[in-house]
Symmetry: C2
Subunit: 701 residues, 2 copies
């Protein structure tokens, strides 16, 4: 995207008015009073003049060339103006007006029509349903935001105007500025990805914040986020709705689109925020370069209780309470009164004045076992609130280790808090929220170190059975027959139990006789019938037992399907130390791995298998394409990894073979992108083997 | 406790001074300027007069009777004053001075000596190491708190002076008052329980807030909390240290003293807060009688995004998004613009003025499917912030359904937020924290409905083997031999597998021959040796297999213990649908269930058993003595209950029998209070049976 779209030399405002309450009036005012030094043309046939400027009856009546048109008129009148824009050969259009896609089908068609016309004319579009944009690098405020907090080094891209205003309101209070603020609204043309790309080259932008309700091109977003030279801070609320609704797969019921987005964000040079307050605080910390280099925190407080609260939360959010060095302890013992606690969390006692805080913070800052310092102050009788704030500011100015201040209370602490804010020191009255943010920053910082990007083209495809798969496609998602699934798994070297699918008891017994104990199951096709029946018999050990179960199962299936001699699946029985679940869901259609495919691709899920899969939901995710390290990290983040790694003297299990299987499955999914959902549950994991016992593949175009 | 202790007719302040920076001076000032109308005697031999009052050289030189003496002098001088107090026959003493138990052994001995003297003289003591107390009912401020926010209807008992000041600072900002504020310090005499009891009868106190670092008498606290007519709001941070450190029991490593406290609080008429801000907000909501009657919330917002964030959190915190009635929906459709979303969460759109908020909130308030209303405002261009606040106040004044306001932002929203605060409406910029608090209030409200208190005396004791148990007692915790454990379990009707403990292979085979498959294990005594060896052989099916395993195990044990012919435990093999864990730890000593016993008693733990116990820590707790309903609730709160209740067409398991076992275990623990820790893991649960397969009892006096 051409950066000039956010820096036009001339702007016409269609719908400009003299009514001070109208949005168009406010946009005009914001633009002019913001110091825009390009040309501004109010357009409204009802007026001769607007705020001392000539008003034009239409953009066609403007004689000079026009870079940008901002449209603030009812939606049904917009298309006519668009035609004029095309005739006038403007470069870009910002549609503020609502009443499009967000209102239903009619609005959507209108929006699509307009977007198409503009695209054909090679004119770019922001909106519709946008708050406008602010480019503080160039003093352009083409928005109806209540306030502009002024220039800064964060670019903020927001899909929701409302959240945008809430964050601007916080920012105004702190004089925290932005390089750009862009409300992308319905994203009929320009969406987040182009902007992220553009801001990579904006020298005034240090980081990019995003409020996203949906990603327009997930796969591309992940690539951009991975390649980003600047941190992204993303809030993407909601979407706890299931990823694949129509399918009764395990994965479908376990994975939400929120998981996909969270996994996508974690894959990139990005931090995920959970609330607008958190988003705002993280933006500020990044702007002020307050990202701790590691997990180790020193806590300095004038009270014991809050120190305990901090300690609990440090562990909870994946951080470590610094083990202070001997030298540090000695220095603290020397400087602090004897009743103090010099062990981290450091308790300076209730009568600590600013000098005691200063000494303790300085000593901690000097310890290499300390990556950041949390200072907690309670406003006790002689507590020097402003003095302590000054001490923090003084030390923070000399060190790159971030200091986080939690001053507890409200009334008396304000003077100190305001001073800290003035000097851009993080401050909050919420210890837990503070530690949670530190945890996120540290995790982010660890994450960006390892950056080995895998692309789809790096994955070797093998799809010998693709024609059979395509033959099975239907308008709805359908389950692949067991024999095709078996072929595909074997093609990709995924170990499955020895098995036979047959309607004939003689063949079944012949298969089983040297393999007891065996397992007997109905086939996926028959299981797809929603009626419940006992479809699995485990641990069959003798021919007589086999015969009776075979007839029992045959009868049960017949009752449901009407087939007199149904296929039955016999497998060798595989014992395991633990059962693993491997699943996948596709976000996007089957063309996702082609260049033009939109969506995120397949989200691999791995975790606890067997009967506890839905009980503990101990499942972690990786987004395809990915590398072995990311897969290993996903495994490590499950609690099941305790079993895999053999805790408490138990045997370690075949983790490398499990990773091989995951890599094979990745290849399988990229080779057969028609798979919309996959359940392999259980995968039997032992000390030396990994066997996919029960695999179901669902396909859809 | 006599309420007069917090309402003395005369007070002497020992250590009073003319130095305005001294704590004693501030206490005197607070007392006098607070409007105390009893007699005040400054005591200090250095002065003739202090702030216009006669100063006495010692309390003995005061001629009139003296109710209370407040001591503010260095700790080593305190004892002499105490002797004078006894001579003067004062009624109570408040020791502000620090330098006692909190500083180490010497201080502890000094404190204990003073407490003993006072006790013998029948004089009550607050402190030492106390901030003092404020009784706003009687205009008594005998404290060095920075501020007194004035009278109110919450009594606040705090062990930490520091947290106390932080909360008072918040309260001052909001003019939120307290009936009493008591800093109990080191609790050498008066501790929380007596105060809780006293405040039951204080008509100006509606609820009691507590900040507790440790409970002085847990069992009594639970009784009081259960019997309390007034809600308790408790913050008890920290103590993630293990409950029973010395023992290598599962339970010991899984249960922290924090679990005990949390379970204790949940048992009573009480709410647990996690931070001082949360404690403060809950106090305010209780004071203003804003406890929702049920789980159903309506969300009204002028933006879509925050509505989504609210929805996610409502589910997360155990609440329900109201299904609005047909009438409500019709009314909303009539009143709101067509582009609004009338489905909960209700989106009023960005141009909503106060009237639209008022209509929507009123309509929701009128729906019986709504228990509380969350109003989220983002400060958009024409948003009427103060007007919306007024609308909320107006409706809240007419309804008992609480309205919670989240105004997002900071600068522009202040006017509205301040107005809401003035009218005691809950307001916060944090949607998640707000919903979490609503969740706690609702849970609390549901909890107080069911109040069937079980006492230890209601439990029928049977302790036939108590002498054998006592014989095993040692200075350290020890494991009970398997045969005694077996006897005790059988005595209490706890089903265990058929088993034999024998060193002789012939006896073992004779037992096994009709019971194959069997399990073979080393005994608890031999397992107590920390060396790892294969101590369990499962699923032994034939005599030859049995023989080889028996010799293998015998050799392994001999290597570790040196015994040539060790006892070996043979059990019938029990199959199960799922494995359950039942554990217990004792807080307090073995006299806990006697009248004078202090501590909380046994904390029962129940949850996932087998190899996943420590992996998922899916364990819930009940504190003994308790009833079947509470046990059922604990089971229901585990995720394992999905398996027990047979989700997704699986069989339901023998839950009633599991409850029987828990009741039996409760009886067992009360009968054998020497048990400091118990692990039963696994308990095999099937559709019709529950069998305790592996039980280990640890005892200590």
């Amino acid at each position: 995207m051409n950066a000039d779209i956010l820096n036009p030399r001339s702007i016409a405002i269609v719908g400009a008015s003299t009514n001070p309450k109208k949005i168009s009036t406010i946009i005009l005012q914001n633009l002019v009073s913001g110091g825009y030094n390009g040309k501004v043309y109010p357009v409204n046939p009802k007026y001769e003049e607007i705020v001392g400027r000539k008003s034009y009856p239409s953009i066609l009546s403007i004689e000079e060339d026009l870079d940008q048109v901002c449209i603030v008129i009812p939606s049904h009148l917009v298309e006519e103006v668009i035609d004029q824009c095309i005739e006038k050969k403007v470069k870009s259009v910002v549609i503020i007006s609502a009443g499009f896609k967000e209102t239903g089908k009619e609005g959507r068609l209108l929006e699509e029509g307009i977007a198409k016309k503009l695209k054909n004319a090679n004119i770019r579009l922001i909106g519709p349903n946008s708050l406008g944009y602010i480019n503080n690098n160039e003093n352009i405020n083409l928005s109806f935001a209540r306030k502009n907090p002024g220039s800064g080094d964060i670019a903020f891209i927001s899909q929701s105007g409302a959240l945008c205003t809430a964050i601007l309101d916080m920012a105004c209070e702190d004089n925290f500025g932005f390089s750009h603020i862009i409300s992308i609204g319905n994203k009929a043309d320009i969406f987040e990805n182009e902007l992220i790309e553009m801001f990579q080259n904006d020298e005034n932008t240090k980081a990019i914040a995003l409020y996203m309700e949906e990603f327009s091109d997930g796969k591309e977003f992940v690539k951009l986020a991975q390649a980003s030279k600047k941190p992204l801070v993303v809030i993407a609320p909601g979407s706890s709705e299931k990823a694949v609704e129509a399918i009764s797969s395990h994965t479908g019921s376990l994975v939400s689109s929120y998981d996909t987005i969270t996994t996508a964000i974690n894959k990139g040079n990005a931090i995920q925020a959970q609330s607008s307050v958190e988003l705002y605080n993280i933006m500020k910390l990044i702007s002020n370069e307050r990202i701790p280099r590691g997990k180790k925190i020193a806590v300095v407080s004038n009270a014991g209780g809050p120190g305990i609260i901090a300690t609990d939360n440090i562990e909870k959010h994946g951080l470590i309470l610094s083990e202070l060095g001997e030298k540090t302890t000695k220095k603290l013992l020397k400087e602090l009164p004897s009743a103090s606690s010099v062990k981290n969390p450091i308790d300076l006692l209730g009568d600590a004045l600013a000098d005691r805080f200063e000494q303790a913070i300085s000593i901690c800052e000097d310890d290499k076992e300390v990556d950041s310092i949390l200072v907690i102050l309670t406003p006790q009788l002689i507590t020097d609130i402003v003095g302590t704030a000054r001490a923090i500011i003084k030390i923070q100015n000399k060190t790159s280790k971030p200091i986080f201040a939690c001053f507890l209370g409200n009334h008396d602490i304000k003077s100190g808090v305001n001073l800290l804010k003035e000097y851009n020191i993080y401050t909050s009255s919420n210890i837990e929220a503070t530690i949670e943010i530190i945890g996120k920053l540290v995790k982010y910082n660890n994450n960006i170190a390892k950056k080995d990007v895998v692309e789809v083209k790096d994955i070797k495809i093998s799809a010998k059975h693709i024609d059979k798969v395509k033959e099975c496609l239907s308008s709805e998602a359908v389950i692949l027959p067991d024999d095709i699934t078996e072929s595909i798994l074997k093609e990709h070297n995924i170990v499955i139990p020895e098995q036979i699918i047959t309607p004939h008891i003689e063949n079944a017994i012949e298969f089983s006789i040297n393999r007891f104990p065996v397992v007997m199951k109905a086939t996926s096709k028959d299981l797809a019938h929603k009626t419940d029946f006992k479809a699995v018999h485990l641990d069959i050990r003798t021919i007589s037992e086999f015969e009776s179960k075979f007839y029992e199962l045959r009868e049960a299936i017949s009752k449901v399907t009407g087939t007199t001699s149904p296929d039955i699946l016999i497998q060798e029985m595989v014992k395991s130390n633990t059962e693993v679940f491997i699943g996948a869901t596709r976000q996007g259609d089957s063309k996702i791995y082609q260049d033009k495919g939109k969506g995120f691709g397949h989200l691999l899920a791995i975790g606890q298998g067997g009967i506890y899969t839905e009980v503990y939901k101990d499942i972690k995710h990786v987004l395809i394409p990915t590398n072995r390290e990311d897969m290993l990290e996903a495994i490590s983040e499950t609690r099941l990894s305790m079993i895999v790694d053999g805790y408490r003297g138990r045997p370690t299990l075949a983790k490398e073979k499990l990773l091989d299987m995951l890599e094979n499955i990745q290849r399988l999914l990229v080779s057969y992108p028609h798979i919309i959902s996959m359940d392999i549950n259980p995968v039997m994991l032992t000390e030396d083997k990994v066997v996919a016992v029960d695999a179901k593949l669902y396909i859809k175009d």
